[in-house]
Amino acid sequence: MSGFFSPFITKPVSVSQIMLHVLFALIPGIALYVWFYGPAILVSITLASITALGIEALMLKIQHKPVAPYLKDNSALLTAWLLALSIPTLAPWWLVVVGTAFAISISKHLYGGLGNNPFNPAMVGYAVLIISFPAYMTHWLAPQGVGGVSMSFSDQLGYMFQGLLPDGLTLDAVTMATPLDTLKTQLHQHSQIEHILNMPIYGHLAGKGGEWVAGGFLLGGFYLFAKRLISWHLPVAFLGSLFLIAGIFHLFDPAHYAAPLLHLFSGAAMLGAFFILTDPVTSPTTPRGKLIFAAGAALLTYLIRVFGGFPDGIAFATLLMNITVPLLDAWTQPKVFGKKEKRS
């Protein structure tokens, strides 16, 4: 017997399955990541996953919560993957560990664990790292075929775990500023957009390689949507708003403001739209709340990217909008059945 009270039947769906689907949806993006940047990201993801599960188990244990059911919900894994995907490929191992440990312990469990954290744990982890270790957070690998020098997998492992580079290689030779960063720096040096975009790191829409990875996340997003794991509100409102804001600036001054599609396919925009903003725990629950939340995140992302000091704005935009969630939820309560309009 399922219990003493109805309903006696439930839909066979669990948090664990939902999270598994989301992890699955990340795979196209990760595959393309490996294709363009080599398998180092898989090492980061594995390292983050192990750390996340370990810290999760530890935190559950010291809080006397049931370890097994919560460990199996896959939510810690998702946080780990998202964080690993957000930080540079050539990150030293301890950077991954510190970021993940902070995300799981402080920003998730100290706020009450699954379902109770007001801020997106992966983004808190990212924010802590970029503020504490800004130098390490710029070590983005150049995609294959850009920069001339490439690192073998063993070279990458050597750097990640021992901080050693092969003889004759410098960090500057194998890493590069991200396309968004380059754009900002070049614009500061009074270059024109069209000249900047002719640089070898740019591809069809945005950064070479990066644009494809973004496309992979977009594909994963479609999967989530098809599986009804996310509603359209957040991704559509986020990408739409970002497109609109970037489009207005671009129309106004195309020489100094990049085309909207560059913004959509750069940095963590796609990852954010489908996998980060859509974290149900830290986003609004009402349809209107979701639209406002996503539009606000898009505006903040654009402002940070174009006028701010950080290379990308998704993390801080997400965290800032996370603050507004309880208010948005309270303000945007939908009307209930039969009470939508006054009837006489």
Binding site: M1, S2, G3, F4, F5, S6, P7, F8, I9, T10, K11, V13, S14, V15, Q17, I18, P66, P69, Y70, D73, S75, G113, L114, G115, N116, P280, V281, S283, T285, T286, D329, Q333, P334, K335, V336, F337, G338, K339, K340, R343
Partner: protein, 558 residues
């Protein structure tokens, strides 16, 4: 083709209906005993009119309606009343209620009935009276006395909605009833339409019952009914909820706390229409109904069973399988687990599911809510169940009410879809009952306060009256003394009467003094009954104050 409307949300649980629709409705065997609760309807419990040991005929009144909102209860067969006592009943509370235990004599002998060939000639009040005395109540689950719902002013009700949707999984009693007895259902519907002066009749049946739809449509055509339409509605749970069906068929949303009749709609279950017809045309009281017996049984099917039939006897006729752990009355979404397998079936029993661990596996342990809003997506009342859960869990009942807790129809769709396995609807039932308890408590406290205040004022008044009486007496005595003194002043000294009067006088004086003391003592309430230590402290404080006052005086003078 009629335009249909949609309601928000809804779910598609496995219907599990075909198991019990393979064979026609079967007349259930006469049970060994019948346990007939006297409270099977909304309103007051019926008053028993028989005693243990009485012989009753089938259809004989055994409980008369008590008050305006109540209904009659009848003997389901002929036999002897064995007992009238408290027994476990088929109710969510699991509490015992007053039941009549009837031992059938096997003759199944009817009482003399009063059939009516020409019901149109009867005044409406008479028809309602017949229904009330026949114990006809809503058979869709609400068991509201039907006569109360069949009253309307002319032109008030536009649409009469007949509910044949039967959206809950497993239940097929209305389906079979419509397949087999469509003609009589329609006759009952026509009667209802007349009583309500309703213009049109819409019969909503979910599209997973094509046979029932065809049978009803054929009967409408055969009967030549005007402005009566059989409409296939989409199969979605809880599409058979009255509010949801009214929405789908008419587009009207009946908000919580609003009567559908105020919006021009009345809604009845098709089974009720059938019972209305039987009650008026043949004078048969409601002593049996169609009930689906399904679940962990070898031959799931529908029975026409007598009210009061012990559930285990009925389920045995469908060949109960081993591993049965209990009976659920109703469907798996909103049904109620029976307190015992022997409880008698009641007018509200549309389905009995023999449950087993295979059929309804144990629920997985609940984990934290991740605010995924699947519950909000399926809520037909368009609530935010995740918020309500939060408030109910925190016992933040005011907030729960602000978020429309009482608009929840407890359909259980939220619990069904919750990936965290949270029994959401349980939280809402809990919060509702907490609020009801609080309100009852508040009412009781208000009543107690009023009683107390009244008592205080009475005591005060009595005291005053006593004092006035005493004063009057004293005045009279003084007058008398003065008179006597005047008289005595003439011939002799009247020491004797004065002396005789003195003790009384003293007593009165003492009483007055005592009352005064009491009044004085009553004034500074917070200084009553102080310990010597406290008194000392107060004296101390007073002394300090005096000193400060002195000092202040000194300062100002300087």
């Amino acid at each position: 083709m009629k335009t249909l409307y949609q309601f928000h949300g809804g779910i598609h649980p496995p219907t599990n209906k075909t198991q019990s629709t393979q064979t026609p409705i079967r007349l259930a065997q006469l049970p060994v005993k019948l346990v007939i609760p006297l409270h099977q309807h909304v309103g007051n419990c019926a008053k028993p009119v028989v005693e243990a040991g009485d012989y009753v005929l089938k259809g004989q009144l055994i409980g008369r309606p008590d008050g305006h909102l109540s209904s009659a209860i009848h003997a389901s067969t002929s036999g002897t009343i064995a007992a009238i006592d408290m027994q476990p009943v088929a109710h969510a509370s699991g509490m015992a209620d007053l039941c009549v235990t009837l031992i059938p004599d096997g003759l199944d002998k009817w009482i003399e009935l009063a059939p009516c060939d020409d019901w149109q000639s009867l005044p409406h009040t008479e028809l309602r009276h017949i229904l009330r005395n026949a114990g006809v109540v809503g058979l869709g689950g609400a068991v509201f006395p039907s006569d109360m719902k069949l009253y309307a002013h002319k032109h008030k009700i536009k649409t009469l909605v007949l509910n044949g949707a039967e959206c809950e999984p497993f239940i097929t009693c209305d389906d079979l009833l419509m397949r087999e007895r469509a003609g009589e259902i329609l006759l009952g519907i026509e009667m209802m339409r007349t009583l309500l002066y309703a213009e049109e009749v819409l019969i909503g049946i979910e599209d997973n019952k094509p046979e029932a739809i065809a049978a009803m449509q054929a009967a409408v055509t055969a009967g030549g009914y005007a402005r009566m339409e059989v409409i296939a509605v989409p199969t979605i749970y809880p599409g058979g909820g009255a509010k949801q069906l009214i929405r789908v068929l008419t587009g009207i949303e009946v908000a919580a706390g609003v009567r559908s009749t105020n919006l021009g709609v009345q809604c009845f279950n098709v089974g009720t229409a059938y019972s209305v017809w039987r009650a008026i045309r043949y004078g048969e009281p409601l002593i049996s109904r169609v009930v689906t017996v399904t679940g962990n049984v070898a031959h799931p099917q529908n029975f026409d069973a007598l009210i009061g039939t012990p559930m285990d006897e009925l389920v045995a006729q469908a060949d109960q399988l081993p591993g049965t752990t209990g009976y659920i009355m109703g469907g798996p979404m909103m049904g109620v687990l029976m307190p015992s397998m022997q409880v008698g079936m009641i007018k509200a029993t549309n389905c009995i599911i023999a449950s087993s661990d295979q059929l309804f596996p144990a629920a997985k342990p609940a984990v934290s809510c991740i605010r995924c809003t699947r519950c909000a997506d399926v809520c037909p009342a368009e609530l935010q169940p995740q918020e309500l859960y939060w408030f109910a869990k925190a016992k933040n009942l005011d907030k729960a009410e602000d978020y429309h807790l009482f608009d929840c129809i407890e359909c259980g769709a939220c619990s069904y879809v919750c990936p965290s396995n949270i029994p959401l609807v349980q939280y809402y039932r809990f919060a509702k009952s907490e609020i009801w308890a609080q309100e009852a408590g508040k009412k009781a406290a208000d009543a107690a306060r009023e009683r107390h205040e009244y008592r205080e004022s009475r005591i005060e008044r009595e005291k005053r009256e006593k004092a006035e009486k005493l004063a009057a007496k004293e005045k009279a005595a003084q007058d008398a003394r003065a008179q006597r003194a005047a008289l005595a002043a003439v011939p002799e000294t009247g020491t004797m009467p004065v002396a005789a009067e003195n003790p009384v006088q003293q007593k009165i004086q003492a009483a007055i003094e005592h009352a005064k003391l009491q009044a004085a003592a009553a004034k500074p309430k917070n200084t009553e009954q102080l310990t010597p230590h406290q008194l000392a402290e107060i004296a101390d404080i007073e002394a300090r104050r005096a000193r400060v006052r002195e000092l202040a005086k000194d300062n100002t003078e300087e």
